[in-house]
Amino acid sequence: MTMSVEKGDRRKERLDRGIKVRTDGVYAISSWIEITYLVLPRMALIVGLLALPLVLTHFPYWQRVVSIIGIYALLAIGFDFLANFVGLVSLGGGLYIGVGAYIAALLNSEFGLPTYVTVPAATVLGGALCTMILFPCLPLRGVYFAIVSLMYPLLAGRVIEALNIFGGTDGIIGLDGFSSGWVEQYLLIACVLVALFVLRRMVTEDVGLVFRGVKDNDQAVRASAINITTYKALGVFIAAALGCLGGACLAHIYMWAGISQFALDFSIIPIAATVVGGGGTLVGAVIGCVILVPISEVLRDFGTLRIAVYALILTGFIVFKSEGIMTYATRKYEQTERWVEI
């Protein structure tokens, strides 16, 4: 390919807006406009998510969808964190959901523990269990992790079916539900917001620097006498715990845990949401879920077509528009663009 500059060629020049530069520093608190500029997008997300159940008060079906969005958002945040900050692509979100759901279900049905014990317990135990079974592929390059994480959810259902454990194909039924729909929705929304802001802070701290080092140049991290496998395991634990939290909530929402909770939907929607929303932004994953999960509900009548639709959206975005919505929006918010003659 030959590149030559001719008269009349243009390029797009991007400059940070003045207000963006000012709000980067301590001067942010110098005026209300600057404070608003900083706080507005964050508040829009927080208030928007918190208001969703209230807006939908008269539509109980769509209120349930809000909970489902929350579950997918937890998975998607975990996926985004793992893929774009630790460098591990997890193709098996269904594993985390399934493990979380079964642990919560077993604790609830076998030991009679209440939901406020089973959900946190399933989060921690499930995260630990998933990290343990994924551990053998962590000392290796990322492709092994992708492959093995793809295998587990596909095989887990069949193992449960074949060995007829945990209720076999019927699953574990008759679990406690949440005391009301409001508890269920606000619990999930709160978890999503906490996970989001904690992870966003974490990736800018020292530990986040090491994570990104593991992704970008693992040899350099090793040369600094830092054990890569430990950090990868920590990353997987965080992502898996988020997924298990979602799974535990899912089990209590439907009062049931079964093989279908290892389904492909849980693997593909978080990936699609992350790519559509903007990988590496964490917020993008949540926004992607808010957009994609309702589409999934609308497409429910078409059966597995919706997975195919997602896969196509995903391919389109990753190939042609890989920056995603959030990165695009951030750029528009923070920078001005103009064409300049070369």
Partner: protein, 288 residues
């Protein structure tokens, strides 16, 4: 004796499933997660041509093989080439394409047990006192023939030598005038056709169902990891190990446990010999 014979047959079918995957990964370092989808797609196209269009069996097979090869090449040329080298995007994109094909087929009507391909030759024979149907013998023959053809192609033709060069050292190959993208397209086309050929030989033994796609992907990947990603000798040896392990499991423990054999094989391999049985020279690269 039947353990031995069925072990060989099972291993040969694993070799068939894994060949295409290991070829593509070996040449362009691209884990083709759409491998299983291409396998099912070939079977479905053949079924359509045979039963809906009414072509003869050999002709339908030839057309569907060619179609799969083209689809594989197009997949690389138009989609995957744009994310080449970005490991995360490569994995996601090929997985998404595979899912779109498989779930699209399921939505398009590929469900239930009504989709079957006839065996090439009906009937069965006695081999050392064990009853084996001809189709299963054809599987073994096809395995041997395809491996030999692939070997001849790679070490005998200019194109094949180019592929081999790419697999060994991409930079060096490029300095010698080998176009790395074109070679990757060729590898994808050949790899997809190998997936298709495996489907044509193996599918007459079972129904064409969407789940087969996921199974084939898992088995192909298991074989490749145990053998060492990108190593052909390793893949063949690994296919025999897993193949016999599966048959032994079925005989002594029951068919239930067969599904976990591949997973256990992968995990043991990753713990004991992370770069696989034959991945020795790549050991440093695999282990970070």
């Amino acid at each position: 004796m039947d353990i031995f014979i069925y072990g060989i047959i099972n291993s040969a079918s694993l070799v068939l499933m894994a060949l295409g995957f290991t070829l593509v990964y070996g040449v362009s370092r691209l884990p083709n997660f759409a491998h299983g989808a291409l396998y099912v797609l070939t079977g479905y196209i053949t079924w359509l041509l045979l039963n809906r269009v009414g072509l003869s069996y050999p002709l339908s097979m030839a057309i569907s093989l060619a179609a799969t090869g083209l689809i594989g090449a197009a997949m690389y040329q138009f989609i995957l080439v744009r994310v080449r080298g970005m490991a995360i995007s490569e994995i996601i994109a090929s997985y998404a394409i595979g899912l779109a094909i498989l779930e699209g087929l399921r939505w398009g009507g590929l469900k239930g047990g009504t989709f079957t391909l006839p065996p090439f030759v009906e009937g069965s024979t006695l081999l050392f006192g064990v009853s084996v149907d001809y189709q299963r013998l054809i599987v073994v023959v096809a395995g041997v023939v395809l491996v030999s053809l692939l070997w001849l192609f790679v070490s005998g033709t200019k194109l094949g030598l180019g592929l081999k060069g790419m697999a060994q050292d991409e930079q060096a190959a490029m300095t010698l005038g080998i176009d790395s993208d074109r070679m990757a397209v060729v590898a994808m086309a050949v790899g997809s056709m190998l997936a298709g050929a495996a489907a044509l030989v193996l599918l007459p033994l079972a129904n064409i169902i969407v789940e087969t796609g996921y199974n084939v992907l898992i088995m192909a990947v298991a074989v490749c990891i145990v053998g060492g990603l990108g190593s052909w000798n390793g893949a063949i040896l690994a296919a025999f190990i897993i193949g016999f392990a599966q048959i032994l499991t079925v005989v002594f423990l029951g068919a239930h446990y067969q599904v976990v054999v591949a997973l256990i094989a992968i995990i043991i391999t990753l713990i004991m010999r992370p770069s696989g049985l034959f991945g020795r020279q790549k050991e440093l690269e695999e282990r970070v």
